[in-house]
């Protein structure tokens, strides 16, 4: 499934596919940009911080889609990159360095360095073994973070204030942070698209289809994959940098394997190998897990049935089967479903 979805898209009917491929991402970004206009424009509003969170995770999911969807490299330790980026912000802040001009490069460098070192080892393996070895490194990062006693250990570390930019407290305003995050998301998306479409990207995708053949043509597959892995790690670090600023808190839980699993689920849920699918998946995952309990509660209130309202705390009983249904009936994730619906109406 991974192969067919991603491979078919760029080659088939170029002009039409290309137009369609730009419409949805554009719509998504316009929707994000419009949120502050409609849903609670005030700083500190619930909607604003929720959607900021969505976009932060969308950046990490985007990077993961680059690996999973275009390289068949299923990383189960992707949360570690986010955590490293976040801890870079937290640790620097604890030492009184609160400017993004220092924190951002450090966050990116830390995540990319970790990706490079672990990538050298991980990329020797394939398939399930790759999944497990990335998990291993993710767990090592997790346990390292929880042993950092001077920086809160297991309990995590509260950051006194958001990063300043050139000494100005720009990000203190939630709207400013929102638009900075949106800009980062758009930038990350454009970067990933450029990479996928480039010569490098073609080699990277070729390695997904048939590493042996790529090697026979004369490409050193390993090096291309390593560069891709480092790039995805860097984007994960960017996401972690933003997450630390959004929550003003870092904790080892940012690097837990559950978090890595959630990122994979976001990518699959949205639709693998489409890039904007990862954004849709992140939004769907976070919004559903945020609103489903509330929705069940309201349904109970509407029907005036207490037991339905009380069921709200057990929303995962609904969410779990929902995921199973998506897998069973919605091949290609949410993007795949959307495409099929649009495709059908186009023919009629």
């Amino acid at each position: 499934m991974v192969e067919s979805v991603a491979a078919a898209a760029p080659e088939r009917g170029l002009s039409r596919a290309r137009r369609a491929d730009w419409t949805l991402p554009l719509l998504i970004f316009v929707a994000f940009a419009a949120v502050p206009l409609f849903g609670g424009a005030a700083s500190g509003s619930y909607i604003l911080s929720l959607v900021t969170r969505v976009m932060v995770f969308a950046i990490a999911a985007l990077a993961l889609d680059l690996l999973v969807g275009f390289g068949a490299l299923v990383s189960f330790g992707h949360a570690a990159f986010m955590g490293l980026g976040a801890y870079a912000v937290g640790i620097l802040a604890a030492h009184g360095i609160g400017d993004a001009l220092v924190a951002l490069p450090v966050a990116l460098a830390a995540a990319m360095l970790f990706a490079w070192v672990t990538g050298i080892v991980c990329l020797r393996t394939r398939g399930v073994y790759f999944i497990m070895i990335t998990l291993a490194f993710g767990q090592m990062a997790y346990f390292t973070a929880s042993s950092l006693a001077p920086y809160g250990g297991d309990d995590g570390l509260t950051i006194a204030a958001r990063n300043t930019i050139f000494g100005f407290e720009v990000l203190r305003d939630d709207r400013a942070l929102y638009f900075v995050t949106l800009a980062c998301l758009v930038g990350a998306y454009l970067l990933c698209r450029a990479v996928v479409g480039s010569r490098f990207g073609r080699v990277f995708r070729g390695a997904r289809e048939n590493p042996v053949r790529m090697a026979a043509i004369g490409f050193e597959v390993y090096r291309y994959q390593l560069v891709g892995y480092v790039l995805a790690g860097g984007l994960g670090g960017l996401s972690g940098f933003l997450l630390a600023n959004a929550t003003e808190f870092v904790s080892p839980a940012y690097m837990s394997w559950q978090r890595s699993g959630e990122l994979i689920i976001m990518v699959i849920l949205g639709g693998i190998g489409t890039l904007h699918g990862a954004i849709v998946g992140a939004a769907a995952f976070i919004l559903v897990s945020e609103w489903l309990p509330e929705g069940i509660y309201q349904l109970g209130a509407l029907l005036q049935i207490r037991s339905v309202s009380d069921f709200a705390e057990h929303w995962k009983i609904v969410f779990g089967p929902l995921l199973v249904l998506v897998v069973l009936f919605a091949r290609g994730g949410l993007i795949g479903v959307g495409r099929r619906i649009l495709g059908r109406s186009g023919h009629e």
């Binding site: 299923v74 009983i317 929902l322 995921l323 199973v324």
Partner: protein, 307 residues
Amino acid sequence: MSTTLFVVQTLNGLQLGVLLFLIAAGLTLVFGVMDFINLAHGVQYMLGAYFAVMFYGLTGSFLAALILALGASLLFGLLLEFAVFRHLYDRDHLDHVIATFGVILFLNQGVKFVWGAAPLTLPIPEMFSGSVLLMPGLLYPIWRLVIIGSGLAVALLLYLLVSYSRVGMLVRAGATNAPMVSALGVDIRRLFMIVFGFGTMLAGFAGIMIAPILSVEPGMGDTILILAFVVIVIGGIGSIRGAFVAALLIGLVDTLGRSFAVDILRLFMAPSPARTVGPAIASMLIYLLMALVLYFRPAGLFPAKGR
């Protein structure tokens, strides 16, 4: 670092290893034979423990609870196979991951819904309660010895089954090349069901046996699941022998690491950093081990031939 402490911790490590083997055996077979990643395997271990608590409450006898819980685990596993997993065998690995993750969410929360979020306990059967003097100054709980003994017995039984029975032969053949086995006229779906049911029952058995010494709570399967995956990857997917060796290895390394990391670090570090770094290194040890094994043997220690 006295000898008694070392012996006690070695036995504890063996007990964890045996428990891991019970879970990993089913996981590695399902993975090896059916090429199916079942993240929900850990939940089945949890369900085994819950079933045992429930049936113990109903019957008041541990033996009856054990037998009924084993049956319930098997039935529930087959129900899951029939309702969900069967439709996923010819799908991508990633589809397995997301669907079985959904099953985990559902069952963890379902358990909370049915039995409540508070941890439950199961008493140790009268006959095996208390401790036994293994050597001067070393009292060891009998129940842990029972776990080790029964786990080793299951391992032996499994070895005989896989090596000498007809189903075992098919299982080995399936782990090597499932399509070929199917082409030779074996009903592969039925073989899958047998393997799956058996694996589920083993995971349930592990949950039942550990219930008297752990608290039975939602989510208890999640941590052990990751450990079981580490075991089957180190051992080589599809290999029972590999799972056995790797399970004991992981059990011992993890337990001994946790008990002695600080002491060992103290030999060449100041006490206070040793106390902070020690536990972190101890938790990391098995992942380090896995990374090392995969670096030198990218397909695990005992790769099933033909993969």
